[in-house]
Amino acid sequence: MSLTVAARLVEAVLFAAEGPLTPQEIARHAALEESILPHLTALADHYAGRGIELVERGGRWHFQTATDLSYILRREREEPRKLSRAAVETLAIIAYHEPVSRAEIEAIRGVQVAKGTLDVLMEAGWIRPAGRREVPGRPLIYATTPDFLSHFGLASRRDLPGIEDLRAAGLLDPIDLAMENMESQSLLENDEEQDEDEDNEA
């Protein structure tokens, strides 16, 4: 395949970059005024089925080895960061609920977030403080980073495994909200219990 000068530049910039790049960053490095996206999609198509693939993760692009070759390439490599079970669960809770406060994480896990859990995830560059919740105490809330998406091969948070099913099943709602929903549902089914339910809520 012969490429235009612009496409060659985009390819070279991505190849030489030290990390994932946004189209704007690529344009700046390649000194291109035109839109980069068509080149990126053309390149991604071109690399489909090759040993290397061009992928987009959270709006940033990078080259990586093809995922289906992992069975061969994996064996000589050491496991990256081994996370504790607590850290894995905490990361999952942040990713699926973000932004989320520490108290909310603790409510789901039923235990305090141990020291060394959030800081391990922050040190890995997977989570970041993302402002404060405007409730009494103004707790800090946490969210995932673009590096999280890159590391786990997610184009966006919508690609989190099973997130749509969990949302549809209400499993990402806080328990109070879930209870309310259930009550209003049962209200529809049975008007008579209405008063009693409201009493219980109070």
């Binding site: 080259f63 990256p80 699926y96 560059g125 099973g162 219980n200």
Partner: protein, 277 residues
Amino acid sequence: MTGETPIQEKLDLDVDALLGDSDWAEPVRRVPGEAVLTVSTEGWEGPLDLLLALARTQKVDLREISILALVEQYLRFIEEAVELRLELAADYLVMAAWLAYLKSGLLLPKEAQPDPSPEELALRLHLRLQRLEAMREAGARLMGRDRIGRDVFVRPAPEGLHRPKSIVWQASLFELIQAYGQVKARTAPRIHVVARRPVMTLDEAIERVSRLLGMEIDWTDLSRFLPETADPVLRRSALASSFVAALELAKQGRVELRQEAIFAPLYLKPASLGAPA
């Protein structure tokens, strides 16, 4: 759990079945020669975790789980643990008390039920378990994805791109807040710190080394002069003080020092006759 097996076997069975996950490091430790089991509560991350593990043994969809049966399982587990003198953290017992309350509520006739209704409490517990289970599964699926550095690889040493600025300073947010934490920790008032730290002063060390030295005639390793202690902090302090004491005594001509190589053991001997005592 069948009624026939002795209680200890039953518990072993449960524990093993519950702890099939290899991530959970040795939750059960058997002390040799003793009938006491220690269930490290680190095996479960709190009562909710244990409840979820128990719920899994019902082998039904978590949505169909019987809360009453689960409560009974938990209470039986705690009871057996107590009988076997297993160590359980307080929050497990708090949960047990709460579940016992829930159970009695669930068994009451409907008119006599307290407010809020036990059904509602049971439903809440149910929802909590489902949420924890969902996140646990989500975490496992996340970890199983094709991860950079394990399954897929990026270029390990890219050339890097030309940047407009000549020097690029690097620091991460984590480093920033970690640094602030350390500044605060360093400069926070320290009141009860010194008293808690077991140390051996130089004077004590000089006194101890010269006293013990009187009982030795041959070259003796410095470590032999240290007080016996299991406290690593005190041990380090004693080592440092005794080392300085040895240097001081050598300066005074009361001891001779010998060391074969850097970091090799340091040997002491009372100074030979003729030297000032």
